[in-house]
Symmetry: D3
């Protein structure tokens, strides 16, 4: 029973601002620079969701990609697409929406939707040149 990783790409567009409410303007400016624009800026986020497990000998699938696609739609696209992450997404009301934190939030939303024997890794592109990877450790 060979272990294979199955990956699915998706994307969403969102506005965000990097800052901490409990810091002064100066401190936010120094740490987050132009990402601290109070009027927000935005990204086309590209997302790769990777699921690892044994091949089911009956179907030849690790996971039916149609099911994985539906989970991504419900947990990520419907929740984040065309939204302002800071103002309109519950998880970021008190959490700075850096790429690192967004990848952890996405992991925590998708993991409970998968059968427990499956491993999960999230890769999130904030821009084509900047991306992060998180696998729950």
């Amino acid at each position: 029973m060979s272990k294979v990783t199955v990956s699915r790409k998706a994307h969403f567009n969102a506005a965000h601002r990097l800052y901490r409410k409990d810091w002064s303007n100066e401190q936010n400016e120094e740490v987050f620079g132009k990402c601290n624009n109070p009027s927000f800026h935005g990204h086309n986020y590209d997302l790769i969701v990777s699921v690892t497990g044994s091949i089911n000998v009956d179907t030849g699938y690790v996971i039916d990609i149609k099911i994985l696609k539906e989970i991504i739609k419900e947990e990520v696209e419907d929740a984040f697409d065309h939204k302002n992450l800071n103002l309109q997404v519950e998880e970021f009301k008190n959490l700075n929406p850096t790429a690192e934190n967004i990848s952890v939030v996405i992991y925590n939303k998708i993991k409970p939707r998968l059968e427990t024997h499956l491993e999960l890794e999230i890769t999130l592109f904030e821009t084509p040149r900047n991306f992060v990877t998180y696998s729950g450790n």
Copy 2:
């Protein structure tokens, strides 16, 4: 004196919202759908600036790409990157920032910076799947 088109890719990240101040909420919602989110959403815009002219026989250049790169930086990247187009960019204070209108604004900013014998075309990717092209006609 062969005519060649020289193209340079650039990009910027910005937030925007599609709507008209003089329309009702219902009308904006009907025409612009989720792009009308009042809290804004955002994109990684990819930009291709194409300049057409004769090859200079001395240098072998149509235009020095270092000069073109500097013009794009001054007119587009410094002006739009990490900005909220509706709130922070003069040209869109009374103009809906659709991809079509943004491409015309960029054309009008870059054209006067080029020698008059050079032709210009702007290609703007709002997402990897949606893009527009404008060449001044």
Copy 3:
């Protein structure tokens, strides 16, 4: 009223075989080589549909991309995706499904769905290295 081209990318997967029923095996083999495999082979076709027209001053759109996306879905994706072009798509029952011919068929299906003042161009990638462009001339 500036003229802008709006483009939308889409894709579909299909099987096909290049051959003519009225030619001998030898002739098909000589002209179409391994593309003449009688058991078929297949491609992930990438499609760019480009529509040119004046910007509507009310909306800032040339065409609402949601409408264009729906037209592509109905005329191309629903008709061709996961199909055998030779056996299951009416237009290719007596027409060799080369990339050239597929692009003309797609043009002829989408053009009547657009307002008459709009121009149309079809770009079809058979592979990332081989593609064709057709604009109705």
Copy 4:
């Protein structure tokens, strides 16, 4: 003696159908949906073959990429390109050609061609959005 992974991209086009001969039409339809089209559909498969080992201090190579390219050509491209996987490739006569199973078959064909101290990983893109990875565990 640093361990480095050397990767080479390749591709092939093929037709396939997902189904099990020993299942009813209804069962195949329910599990495999439109991938069960009896007239087949197809893909441009992109393949990344990754070989890990120590750098040879004489040549600076882990493996000569020209040799790796030749192995991929003989074992994968010559065997699968422009073929119908179900009908014309021995390994899939009784094995459902899912991306997962194809990656295992490719691994098992290439591994014996490599020196035994080298590790192997196969990444197979069925479409630009769906891909699988297998490294022999």
Copy 5:
């Protein structure tokens, strides 16, 4: 008899230096900057060759892509790949190998190999962000 453009991508790697023998070091340095490195630098050039003509009603082809691929191999890849353009390619012994000039040279090598009714366009990427287009005018 519809007119379609058929395009084929290819690539080659080469070293080059931008300078004029008849200019002083200072003048070369001022105009060509770091591209004037006397020890050369290099690029992976990506090339798109586009041929426009009527579809042949017998074959469904504008041009057999296998023939176009062979012409590109003979005229460009065999001549330029893994070469130093300034020192080892006849056409650039007295012509500055800017992207503009390389595209004209490639056009002039491929055009006579095509049937006279076919039009030709060359697109040459010096880097993924800098590219030129030439169509013989």
Copy 6:
């Protein structure tokens, strides 16, 4: 304190030649083929620098990408871009500039610039089809 990998893409253009001074011409020719061109050839190298560590709970960052970008600029781009690796880069005066060796050199230059708890991985694309990965083991 979740561990996340943060990656940044960069690139540089350079000329190189694969050969060993202490080997005969015949031996270099046999092992390195056309990569042994005495007049050099070149590449657009694409580089991915990946840094793994815990998310800083104050900033939401593993590493400030602006700092990582600056380290890559100083250690790699300023040192290698538009250079002849064999003739103008100290590290390759007696080390064959294969992709494998370049990735180890880049790792050894960047690692001391990072806080000691951070892990590092280097991915280097010599061409879009050939790339190597090194993580210090």
